[in-house]
């Protein structure tokens, strides 16, 4: 029973990381129809940022890295959007393949820059402890990740619902042409959304350094699951992404506990397919009169 309870923080923190990754994906996918496979490499960039800052900030690297990684990964995303992706709007499948090419190059670049072996980022000393609640171990690092995700979700939700830029973003997501003729500079909104989404991936990367080692192919482990969150949660849906990410994280960690890790992925996949039988477009759907 206690070990069962221990799965809860594991599942929640995995779900939180997936959420941070999926937020960027769901917005770029929902708003621009871009499937960004290079998103995984922005995670990696965030994680390596923490690693690089270790020499300078020492034990507090993770904390210092959070804003820096956000900016670095966001900048990478922005460059990608400006140089390549904007030529591909309206062709989602082509963006998938294009960004996969980008992701290959970035991965190999990381391998050449930082070496192929995994590196370790030391967690700050104040995150190494744990508390016990009802017999379950709650490591501080996992709680920190959870708190980080909550902060990001609150931030995004305030941004989307309260700020002018967020309103523009929602407008573009709902109806691009109508937003454009109403005077919204859709191209600029696209750029900013891409920056924001990629930046969140960088933050997720920093969070991942608390869970495990950092390697050039770090992103590929999470990108597939993050896309599943997008599919299950519904395009561009904050609420959907939150629920789907936590559900997926919990499902993952509990099926791994009850069966074994190799069967867990298959079960999760089957669960998603089963879920799509009831909700083919994900949990929440943006209502529109468009045909497709």
């Amino acid at each position: 029973m206690e070990s069962l309870l221990n799965q809860v923080p594991i599942g929640l923190s995995i779900g939180a990381v997936l959420l941070l990754i999926a937020l960027g994906l769901t917005f770029t996918f929902g708003q621009m129809g871009v499937i960004n496979m290079a998103h995984g490499e922005f995670i990696m960039a965030g994680a390596y940022t923490a690693y690089m800052l270790q020499g300078w900030a020492g034990g507090q690297a993770v904390l210092v890295a959070l804003p820096v990684a956000f900016l670095i990964a966001g900048a990478l995303g922005w460059i990608l959007e400006r140089t390549a992706i904007r030529h591909f709007y309206g062709r989602p499948l082509d963006t998938l393949l294009l960004t996969w090419g980008v992701s290959l190059v970035l991965q190999q670049a990381a391998r050449d820059l930082f070496g192929a072996p995994n590196v370790q980022v030391d967690a700050p000393s104040w995150l190494t402890g744990r508390i016990e609640v009802a017999g379950a171990n709650l490591p501080y690092s996992r709680l920190f990740i959870l708190g980080l995700a909550i902060a990001c979700v609150v931030g995004i939700s305030v941004y989307m619902n309260r700020s002018r830029q967020g309103r523009r973003m929602r407008a573009v997501m709902q109806n691009r042409e109508l937003a454009a003729v109403s005077g919204v500079a859709t191209g600029r909104v696209d750029q900013f959304t891409f920056f924001l989404g990629s930046g969140l991936a960088g933050v997720a990367g920093v969070a991942l350094t608390l869970i495990g080692p950092v390697g050039p192919s770090l992103g590929t482990y999470y990108i597939v699951d993050a896309f599943l969150v997008v599919v299950a949660g519904g395009l561009g849906q904050l609420k959907g992404a939150v629920i789907a990410a936590l559900a997926l994280g919990m499902l993952n960690s509990f099926t791994e506990f009850w069966t074994d890790a190799s069967l867990a992925k298959v079960i999760v996949f089957a669960a998603i397919i089963a879920f799509l039988q009831f909700r083919p477009q994900g949990m929440f759907v943006l209502r529109s009169r468009a045909l497709t």
Partner: protein
Amino acid sequence: MSDRLRGYTLFASISLLILVVAPLALPAFRLDELAKYLCFAIAALGIGLAWGQGGMLTLGQGVFFGLGGYAMGMYLKLHDAGGDLPDFMVWSGVEKLPALWGPFGNPVVAIGAVIVVPVAIATLLGVLVFRQRVRGAYFAILTQALAAAFVILLVGQQGLTGGTNGLTNFYDVFGRDPEAESTQRGLYFVTAIVLGVLYLGARQLVKSRFGRLLVAVRDGEDRVRFLGYNPATVKTITFAVSAGMAGIAGALFVPVVGIISPSLLGVVPSLELVVAVAVGGRYALAGAILGAVAMNYAKTAFSEEWAGGWLYLQGALFILVMTLAPRGAVGVYQQARDALARRRGDRPPPEPEPAPAVKTPKEVPA
């Protein structure tokens, strides 16, 4: 020369090149390598059918390739063991032959399974997904997740599948020594002929009424539905056919290369196949084959020289192809041909078909 005649001449000369010139000119080692590329070409042909013609971007063909390959590998393993347990099972402490393996001792069952199992799984997935009108990018993501889950399952079930090592060390391929030159030549011919037959079959399918319907589904699924057809059926059948092709490719791959392992099947190898199709030219079946052979050749050639460089090159090539020539090598060739014809001014060139995927950006979410 009419287009038709030109097509036949091209097919005949390429067949001649593959079936006569290559076996005479290449040493056995290179011929075996070419046979491997032809296996990938068979799987690529399936992708060309599903993606190029049907618009279903399948990022999980490695799964079907693997199912075919493992079916063949299981038979060969059982045959080698001759009634005992296959060697890797002994090493991982399995004591009794798992029930799943039982039927694969029979070569007919195993060869049947090479096609039936991938087709059945693709049909099931197709029915579940396409009937709910899950399409486009969603479908691509789901197939990719399937590939990821499949590989993790294979690696995890060590005693059943040989884990990371997969199935290897085959000593007897249908009564022949797999290392012998004559066997390798024989396998090469079998692979080449299977590829040729499947290509002709796929071409026939594309030219048939069904093929027209398939292209129509790709370009306007809802319109096809309004005309009274069921796009889900068309897509499911095509997806199943392409899965069957991948299964056959996997089954041929096992005796040709002598191994089937998870590292050949995951997300990345599946994507590499798609990349090859895109580089060759996704809207032409021949482009898929061309792309698979060329990209795999380039990969081998490059990896021998500078291993890391291949990834840069592949990535860069891919970005360039997607940006500058989304219709791949075949598209570039067609453009060049038309431009040449125009310059000679002998006839007004036929209006080039607009590439279907290169629409003007209008409705963004697909």
